[in-house]
Symmetry: C2
Amino acid sequence: MELQNAPIGVFDSGFGGLTVAREIMRQIPNETIVYFGDTARVPYGTKSQTTILKYSKQIVRFLRTKEVKAIVVACNTASALALEEIRRELEIPILGVIKPGAKIAANTTKNGKIGIIATEATIQSRVYTHFIQDLNPELTVIGKACPLFVPIVEEGTFLNDPILDAIANRYLEELKQHKIDTLILGCTHYPLLRSTLSRLMGEDVTLVNPAYETARELQRLLRKEGLENTQGQEIERIHTFYVSDVPDRFKQFAASILPCSAERTAQINIEEY
Amino acid sequence: MELQNAPIGVFDSGFGGLTVAREIMRQIPNETIVYFGDTARVPYGTKSQTTILKYSKQIVRFLRTKEVKAIVVACNTASALALEEIRRELEIPILGVIKPGAKIAANTTKNGKIGIIATEATIQSRVYTHFIQDLNPELTVIGKACPLFVPIVEEGTFLNDPILDAIANRYLEELKQHKIDTLILGCTHYPLLRSTLSRLMGEDVTLVNPAYETARELQRLLRKEGLENTQGQEIERIHTFYVSDVPDRFKQFAASILPCSAERTAQINIEEY
């Protein structure tokens, strides 16, 4: 297999990274994806850096057995806590969602006040703040952990419900008080709450989804490294999906979010890698 | 070490099982506990039977290296989905929380209508229903999964809050309509929501915490098998605690719930077992 025609590895702690996979499929339709979701050990956002790093390394070892030419860490928590160390040991390009998200937010804000909502682990890492202030030290960055958002998306019962509004208002209160004009959706589940978050923050606040910019950044990276797929769009791309728990729920979720089928999702034993 | 003086192994997917460990410490103070909390892979309640069984078997193998004389599965999900298969392969007594909980509920109800709140996996297994109807086929059992309760307890922000009341009212609505008079707290986290649940269900509904009956059942079992600790109470019991993620948050939680210190909690690599 020629290197250019090799697939892109994309991983997340579970379903959420499919919002990033979807953007890659839309923006770079010539590329083929091998996706891994760690559904047996989800969530990552409440766990320690040691554990997240160990899990991420296992997943990278698995993806390399699929001969991927590049890897996208489609999970904010793993991007925040594991990406830099993995990059040091890896010979292929690897990209997280945080740097692209930070860049677009820094370019979007008008009043210099950026809010970030994410998991506890991502917020505590302060990685978004570091990247944004590297770009422009004048910017103010306010982070807020929203631990219930992931279970709410996964359960599904309280979407478009006054109870979600009440919870979200509590989480967003501090960000509103700071009069942010830009809000980063710093967890791959959160774009699925977009309509609620947008309504509650009001039309003066721009929501930033790092997935969009990550797909663009990936395209630039592939081009720069001479890794773009040279086969034309007439060839059908067969994306493949792997998970660590049984695939039933993953397939349901994928069907609601992806433009392609994930019916052939396979379960693997990630602890062996 | 004489077998009677060996410790009791107690395990859970995380913190919740400490409510069971606490009951054992209270009711059988002569026994020493070795506790394992699978904090790197928590929660179990949204995962498949295959995965829960695999994780439970690894934990049992770990506890056996500590030469435990008996094991308590202090997790409703693992009790529902893994206990029977583990028991078939094990030479020491093992006890779950579901059978004791079912028994006390069947003895408590006056109108024959029992409600159960638990994780999705426990409710779907219908194990509580089977145990209760084995005791008395006339009893009606209504189960309701409450997926947000565990993350709410773990986050802590919404305890004693109108938002918790709103979520709980939604979950409890169907059970109230069925006019249950007994409610099993079918997840080891739920006793920590007891005051809210009790207030919302009203004084005509008795809440059943399986932890209490599990500790009683354990004492009966040890007596029957000649395994009761024969050393007197004058000897200081040093309970030990192990977790799969870094122990910081576990220690905080343990300090708020246990009558003893868990300061020396150690992290182990559970995937090696």
